[in-house]
Symmetry: C2
């Protein structure tokens, strides 16, 4: 096919869009690939649609190779199935909800676990029907609070989501592995770096979860990589707890600590007034910081919790969100403190569900959770739940206990991974997610099959997502320079971009010949045949559009010569036209 | 490609879905093509998705051949552009509206005229950029009051909508014709009968409009076909007005007409008491029926109008809706009459915007509109706006006038078309619509380009829609028998359905060979390799699925023989396997 730029729906824009924060957004808009319709919502122009179709085709081929079958669900879904699994409420403000003219509730689906589960329940009833993996490539919706970075975090986006159905755990492992392998092939074909990291599975009720992250400084996710090869996203990183210590004799000591509401002021006070621990000075890590957080549950109830963690760490927001999902996590407000006068700001100490363990005991019902580093026998300096009073030599397991352990402290370079080696932190963008859902959805929605013995067994499921539009943006983000985009050949909107320049008819005539030959060889050609457009503008547009292989028909046309131009390396080579055609069609 | 039924996501259902009113719905559900998710909202299973992709591909190819370029707009669109053209309000209850978390208004787009207009405005500014036709194949939404007939009238449906942009009327005519020609090719390739009928253009503010109707008794639309070849949908049918008559001398005569609130009682009274018109009896057509309707405007204001039409006709609801769009039309209620005591039910006569022309004059502001048959000089019997009083010899143009003419009376077989020949009425299903929008949208949204003289001119547009999912259902509706579907080859989910039957391995082995050969020749094969499924079940499923070409490997397998089975004619022929393969791959 030949597409002529003279009639192609394309217009390069000189100005960056005002709201563009990243290169992919900037260039995809400037080069007429996409156009904003509303925050996080884009229209696709012919160039963009071509690249999107190529990404989708690669995904489709690898899904077929993995034995997955394509289906398609509506975006507009009724409330009932989401109600049955609790997600109608759990999604909070994160989804678009609406009513039809009869007042029935609907949502614009962010994912389709429930619908897939019900469809299989509708059609299948025997272990003989399994395993089954079905997928769709479909437009999804999330009502992001702050959609940004163009296609990287939109409110309408295209995803491939697949779901596997098995009746044994081994079957689920195999289905999971098949999708995981398919994802590796997809990213390899797309020329994208990726790291597979352990992800947090708890919030979705599943058992095993891994994310495919594309390492990039603009990624929204932080992930951990250990010297020994352990990888995890920061939410899923498991802190290695030190070994428990023998519980010493003795008792905690209360001391006056005027004007020490922060860890630093406390450490200074300790070093000035209290005998230091063996062999050194007091440091933040000797103190126990008690952070009050508010959990906003999906039903909008507000629960306060206290997180106790070493004073040299903070609560990591994302880790806390993951640990407490589906609740949202907020810092406690002044109003929260005002309602709970027993929480003495700056001097909070151990606590229990019955109220403050020390100090005033008038408040109860606040869970007290400790960091994994707070092991039995460990000794801490912490607040005494009284204004300007602290304790030292407070020993966990002797002087206080907790309602639970929660691993939400900040992760730092050099922390020790579960494999015993130190970690580094990197930024990444989530481009895929494979997930063993287990039996959560099948149980909630009653998906059972008869097994070999005629017994009803609950089906076990996996969920596998790839963000098509996000991947496209990530490829654009990874492949550009100051002049424009540079597509990998596998997803380029055209195979070759032929530019005819110069006055007179020589170049245009030779261009027509070359283009006809390339087309006859089955190549998809973009032909810049625009009359009265300067070579400079044509070259600029070609560089902006980013087809990796350019062919210029210009000055040498009268001699039958053309120029092959590699957009990525910038190399340009003058060759006879037939040689150029032969080289391009030999690939 | 070979798809094996043993692992294909398919399950034939014996029971018709409870809500299925038409064959296409019944069979597409029973054969696992689609599955209901909510009223008028369906999921697509692998079989359905294959057929849908084939219909889309035919549409796409013909759009490309017509020079149209593909783009893709989001389903979720902001309110603003629809507000600018008034359609946000005009749509009434017919669309899905929603708000995002920040309270901004959105809709699920039923069509995208505004968005296409704004996109072209964004990118183009010169006559040199035109003509341009761009299209999308996209899922659309309408909040139908009563979604029904499966895919034929859904709330989520796939459409191809194209929009053309020109700067001259001649250009628009050419763009319109190119789309119209493409539609003819599409329906020919799909093997669908169609009639192109004149459609009502007024409501959309455009100038020329034609619908492609598929003639079928289950069609929702009625269309008119004249002996001379004129076609129109019933909304667009233009009544041929008789010629005006000379105005006679004289005056209308009021007469007592006790208990004559209906046309029939009035005619009986006339024949009993009043001298008949020359050469016959009084008949309903001599009377003038005055019907009070309520127009509910998009802003919810309620306006009463009186429609005067010959007593042998009624107001046709669809024609009235078309004539008064975007207002909705309702019969006047008892409350409407109670609020307007001058409207004497059963005895209403001519009226004017200033109030009743005859009788009590206390009510005003009600428009009085007449049928085209009420021409100057025509004489009528009608109500006198007083209880049990009528008038005869009331002459239009002498004794009364109207605020306008409105052509909303029922159309009947034998009525005369504009070409002077009598009409018949047929039922049809709308499958395509081509429409000259003209400058309405470009004016509302400010889409202008510079012409050859450097002058800004407003662009003129066309809008062209084809219902992809509706066409698919129409094809299914047209191609089935009591055993199941029978697809035309152009959209069949597979090229060949190979059924292996019988015990022992002969059939399965020969089946594998045949299937491999068909695949090697590039055919898309569905292979029923299910073990332990009876031939009867396999044949039943094959007939239900409806691939038009079947190949059975069974009893003759040991002798290398197979059976070619034409699903449409039912013909079955035993031939050597290599001959069967040769015949299927020769096509």
């Amino acid at each position: 096919m030949v597409t002529r730029l003279s009639s192609f729906f394309f217009r390069s824009l000189r100005e960056d869009p005002a709201d563009a924060e990243v290169n992919s957004h900037r260039l995809l808009v400037r080069a007429s690939y996409i156009r904003r319709q509303a925050p996080g919502i884009f229209a696709w122009l012919p160039l963009g649609l071509r690249v999107k179709a190529k990404v989708e085709q690669i995904v489709r081929e690898e899904m077929a190779a993995a034995g997955a079958q394509e289906v398609h669900f509506p975006a507009l879904m009724p409330r009932e199935p989401y109600e049955a699994t609790g997600r109608w409420t759990e999604y909070g403000d994160g989804i678009f909800r609406l009513q039809d003219r009869h007042g029935a509730d609907y949502l614009l689906a962010p994912t389709h676990e429930e619908a897939f589960t019900l469809l299989v329940k509708d059609l299948y009833s025997s272990y003989k029907d399994l395993p089954l993996t079905i997928f769709q490539i479909q437009d999804k919706y999330r009502d992001e609070a702050r959609p940004r970075a163009g296609l990287l975090r939109g409110r309408e986006f295209t995803m491939k989501d697949a779901y596997s159905f098995d009746y044994t755990d081994e079957g689920l492992d195999a289905s999971y592995q098949a999708q995981r392998d398919a994802y590796e092939r997809i990213f390899q074909r797309l020329g994208m770096d990726y790291v597979i990291v352990k992800a947090d599975a708890g919030a979705m009720g599943g058992s095993k979860s891994e994310e495919f992250l594309h390492p990039t400084p603009i990624g929204e996710d932080t992930f951990v990589r250990s010297a020994g090869g352990y990888t995890a996203n920061v939410e899923a990183f498991e802190t290695t707890a030190p070994e428990a210590l023998p519980i010493p004799d003795g008792a905690p000591v209360v001391f006056d600590s005027p004007q020490t509401p922060t860890i630093q002021t406390l450490v200074d006070h300790l070093n000035a007034h209290i005998e230091a621990p063996a062999g050194g000075e007091w440091a933040a890590e000797h103190t126990l910081k008690n952070v009050v957080l508010a959990l906003v549950h999906p039903d909008k109830t507000r629960e306060l919790v206290i997180i106790a963690l070493p004073g040299d760490r903070d609560v990591d927001g994302k880790r806390a969100e993951a640990a407490f999902a589906p609740a949202e996590v907020e810092p406690a407000t002044e109003a929260d403190f005002a309602r709970n006068p027993a929480l003495v700001k700056g001097y909070i100490g151990p606590w229990s569900a019955q109220g403050a363990v020390l100090g005033e005991e008038s408040v109860s019902g606040i869970r007290y959770l400790v960091d994994p580093r707070v092991v039995e026998g460990s000794s801490w300096v912490t607040g005494a739940n009284e204004h300007e009073k602290h304790l030292h030599s407070l020993v966990y397991g002797r002087d206080f206990t907790a309602d639970g352990v929660v691993d939400v402290a900040t992760v730092r370079e050099g922390d020790i991974a579960p494999d015993g080696t130190p970690i580094t932190l990197e930024r990444g963008m989530e481009i895929g997610h494979v997930f063993q859902l287990g039996r959560k959805y099948a149980e909630a929605l009653g998906l059972k099959v008869l097994d070999q013995n005629g017994k009803l067994v609950t089906v076990t499921m996996g969920s596998y997502g790839i963000g098509v539009t996000r991947i496209l943006a990530a490829i654009a983000e990874l492949n550009n320079d100051d002049k424009g985009l540079i597509w990998p050949a596998s997803v380029s909107p055209f195979d070759v971009h032929v530019v005819a320049t110069g006055k007179g008819d020589d170049a245009l005539n030779l261009g027509e010949q070359v283009v006809a030959q390339l087309e006859a060889a089955g190549l998809d050609v973009l032909f810049d045949d625009r009359p009265k457009v300067s070579p400079g503008v044509k070259f600029g547009d070609a560089e902006l559009i980013g087809v990796p292989q350019l062919l210029v028909v210009g000055r040498g046309a009268a001699d039958g010569e053309v120029e092959l131009w590699d957009r990525r390396t910038g190399e340009r080579e003058v060759v006879p036209a037939p040689d150029a055609v032969a080289r391009l069609t030999a690939r």
